[in-house]
């Protein structure tokens, strides 16, 4: 199989690492060669964070360069705009429409860009907007934004739903499972 390259982008603390773990386990269970790349340390402290997941028959590079991603799964709107050029020309951009102000916006030094999503639509980029924060609240916790988005990703993948559910079961702690399953379903049915 040709390599599938998925980028997960967001803000440090949003749970992008857990999402990439779930996705990685899904790919492993399908018998693919898999590589994931993460960022730890300083960059995790509320900064812009990126995780790469690649799977296929044989994967060499663990990272993805501009125009290299089949799917960019963005946990936040500004981060979606920032990393949109990593999407292949025929790639898909899944965007949680939640907006988290970066410090330069908080301090008033810069403005949060409000029109970028419209511009992306005008450029005919395949864009799936999701209000994952609202769905996560509906599932019972704002912390489940990541699993809602995994649900959306699962729907647009060609890997069976049960495989995703199994991976979530193996990744999240037991006591949060019910909430996360609800979050996954809400994302899957967007």
């Amino acid at each position: 199989m040709a390599i599938t390259s998925i980028m997960i982008v967001g803000v440090g603390g949003q749970g992008t690492l857990l999402a990439s773990k779930i996705l990685g386990n899904v790919a492993v269970s399908q018998g693919y060669d898999v590589k994931l790349s993460e960022v730890h340390g300083m960059a995790q402290r509320g900064g812009s964070v990126v995780t790469y997941v690649r799977y296929g028959d044989k994967v060499y590079s663990p990272i993805i360069a501009p125009a290299g991603a089949d799917i960019v799964l963005a946990f936040e709107e500004l981060e979606a705009s920032r990393w949109a050029n990593f999407c292949k020309k025929d790639g898909t951009l899944i965007v949680n429409t939640q907006r988290i102000d970066p410090m330069p916006v908080v301090t008033g030094a810069k403005n949060y860009p409000l029109k970028t999503m419209n511009e992306l639509v005008e450029k005919q980029i395949k864009l799936i907007p999701v209000d994952a924060l609202a769905l996560a609240k509906q599932a019972g916790t704002v912390k489940a934004v990541n699993v809602v988005l995994i649900g959306v990703l699962a729907k647009s993948s060609n890997i069976p739903k049960e495989v995703w559910i199994e991976s979530i079961k193996n990744t999240v702690p037991e006591r949060f499972l019910e909430m996360n399953m609800k979050a996954f379903e809400l994302g899957y049915n967007v």
């Binding site: 590589k35 790349s37 730890h40 960059a43 360069a65 981060e79 050029n85 330069p104 949060y112 704002v142």
Partner: protein
């Protein structure tokens, strides 16, 4: 059985399977998870040492005593333990010794971009470089055998994209390796001039043997393909280049010091055009050129930052990948990292900025106090440097200057290499004020214990360094403890201590907000009737507080109810709800 593992977990697995029994390290991104993973195995004694030098000395002792031993560090940690490193090269080892060092090209979480390969060459210690998690495990295991065969420590060079990438690893069993016999041998282990001169001869003989190993080892192999392009590379660059140039021929180097001169010459003859692809310095390229072989490397590639598949494809094949046109009308603001909501350091930096002090800083989460709106730090160089730098500033500009000067340093960093700086202040009659940010944990690297937390790497209770008593024993008579969230008291204490014409230490004590034991409750809301829109609360740089539509607003997905803003607002407009 195959498991998906971080490169760091691969190294840890290799250490485990090789039967190592003593491991000592100091945390440092991107190397930390190696030792954290090893600590889960009860067959291995593991510890967080106070710094990399002590860690290295512990594993040298363990090796001399006959145990397979291991230490891991980030690239700058290797600087800290360079002293024992250069001499253990002379003594050699008894039980196998492996030293892992993780470089950070692109500086994801580091203060410089140094290339550790130079250390292997200058210390005359062989170095292996894995390119994925499987190799990380295999090379580590092999390094133990080679270390014992050649009587030398082996270094393992890692890279952020190897350490922090996950890929599949074939997991094996642990082999228990009995302790080697320890025999007193002062000619081998006591490095005084008379003995060291003899050992230097041994080192040079060993160099010749290791050069032969480099020629013979299967770690260095040729993959012949189309002969138009030949690539010499190692580590992560091999992965990038294989994907970028699937038809090229490769000389893949798993052993990067010493380098195999004959094998390189043999490969060069077989290809029309030879390239070296290596991030950072032209380490391999310089060697190849010294052999009189024509090669292209840094003419095409930068000595700075990371490479990628696309960069290599473009530079060598001229392939241009069509990218999406995603230029936006509006500017995309950057998203620099920030102190977390509830971070204990925030209150302190708010006060330091208010007092307009000159601040020498140190390495940790709190280095973020340099960024807007806290803007509090003037200089940050390396672990422990804040205290020495503040003394230097005082000696350069005089005692009056010290009346508006402080050093800030974390608890773990103070233990690592701040104590000696403080001794210098006292001994050489400085009058600096040192603020120890005691958040009860090593924060930035992801919550590791240290000698000031009272727990070991295995979470066992242990003796806890008493920072107050320690400072007093050094000779600091003025030692104060404050809660940095009590901004009024903190301001008062800092003013008093900075004014004092003698050394002083302020310990700002409040645990990291991410610790499980820290449970802030409720959320803050703004009473808009009381809010005067003075924006004082925005000076603490809390990501949960924003100015929106002409009002101060609290983002409840970020607010954890820590309450610092209640202490900063003079009008009582911040109110806690939901407690």
């Amino acid at each position: 059985m195959k498991e998906i593992m971080l490169g760091n977990e691969g190294v840890a697995r290799g250490v485990f399977e090789a039967g190592a029994t003593v491991v000592a390290s100091y945390p440092g991104t991107p190397s930390t998870e190696i030792t954290e993973t090893i600590a889960k195995h009860n067959e291995i004694y593991s510890e967080w040492a106070p710094n990399e030098k002590v860690a290295m000395e512990v594993v040298i002792g363990a090796s001399i005593a006959g145990a397979r031993s291991f230490t891991a560090m980030k690239h700058v940690g290797l600087n800290v333990c360079a002293d024992p490193l250069f001499t253990v090269s002379y003594t050699g080892i008894n039980g196998g010794l492996v030293i892992a060092v993780a470089d950070d090209p692109g500086m994801h979480s580091s203060q410089n971009e140094q290339d550790s390969r130079h250390y292997a060459m200058s210390a005359k210690i062989p170095m292996l470089e894995p390119s994925d998690s499987q190799e990380a495990k295999d090379f580590t295991k092999l390094a133990y055998e080679l270390s014992e065969k050649y009587d030398v420590p082996f270094m393992l060079r890692l890279h952020t994209r190897v350490s922090h990438s996950r890929s599949l690893v074939d997991v094996g069993e642990r082999t228990e390796v009995p302790l080697k016999e320890y025999k007193k041998d002062i000619n081998k282990y006591v490095m005084m001039p008379g003995m060291a001169r003899k050992r230097h001869v041994v080192v040079e003989e060993r160099q010749a043997a290791l050069q032969e190993l480099a020629e013979q080892t299967e770690l260095n192999y040729i993959e012949m393909n189309d002969t138009k392009i030949g690539i010499i590379c190692s580590g992560i660059c091999y992965q990038y280049a294989k994907e970028a140039l699937p038809n090229a021929s490769f000389l893949k180097l798993g052993m990067i010091y010493p380098l195999p001169a004959k094998k390189i010459a043999e490969f060069a003859k077989k290809v029309d055009k030879l390239y070296v692809i290596e991030e950072l310095d032209p380490f391999i390229e310089t060697f190849v050129k010294a052999q009189g072989i024509e090669v292209t490397g840094k003419d095409l590639f930068s000595v700075m930052g990371e490479y990628s598949v696309e960069m290599i494809a473009k530079a060598i094949s001229g392939t241009n990948i069509e990218t999406l046109d995603v230029k936006f009308e509006e500017e995309l603001p950057p998203r620099p990292p920030v102190l977390c909501p509830g971070c204990p350091h925030r209150g302190l930096f708010y006060v330091l900025k208010k007092l307009k002090l000159t601040v020498t800083g140190d390495i940790g989460c709190y280095t973020l106090g340099a960024l807007s709106p806290l803007d509090s730090i003037d200089a940050c160089v390396c672990m422990g440097a804040s205290i020495g730098m503040s003394l230097g500033m005082e000696k350069a500009r005089g005692k009056d200057y010290a009346r508006k000067l402080v050093a800030v340093i974390g608890d773990s960093t103070f233990i690592h290499s701040g104590i000696t700086g403080l001794i210098d202040v006292v001994y050489n009659k400085g009058t600096s004020t040192v603020i120890i940010l005691d958040n009860s944990i090593t924060g930035m690297t992801g919550h590791q214990h240290n000698p000031s937390t009272g727990f070991t790497i295995k979470n066992e209770p242990t003796k806890q360094v008493d920072l107050v008593q320690l400072c007093k024993a050094i000779g600091v008579e003025r030692v104060r403890v404050v809660d940095p969230f009590d901004v009024v008291e903190t301001e008062k204490v800092i003013k008093e201590e900075v004014a004092a014409d003698e050394p002083s230490v302020i310990i700002a004590q409040r645990p990291c907000a991410l610790l499980k034991s820290v449970r802030y409750t409720g959320k803050v809301t703004v009473n808009q009737d009381k809010c005067t829109k003075c924006k004082m609360c925005m000076r603490i740089g809390c990501p949960a507080i924003a100015w929106k539509d002409g009002k101060i607003m609290i983002d409840h997905t970020q607010c954890n109810g820590c309450g610092l803003c209640l202490n900063v607002c003079k009008f009582g407009a911040m109110e806690k709800v939901g407690e």
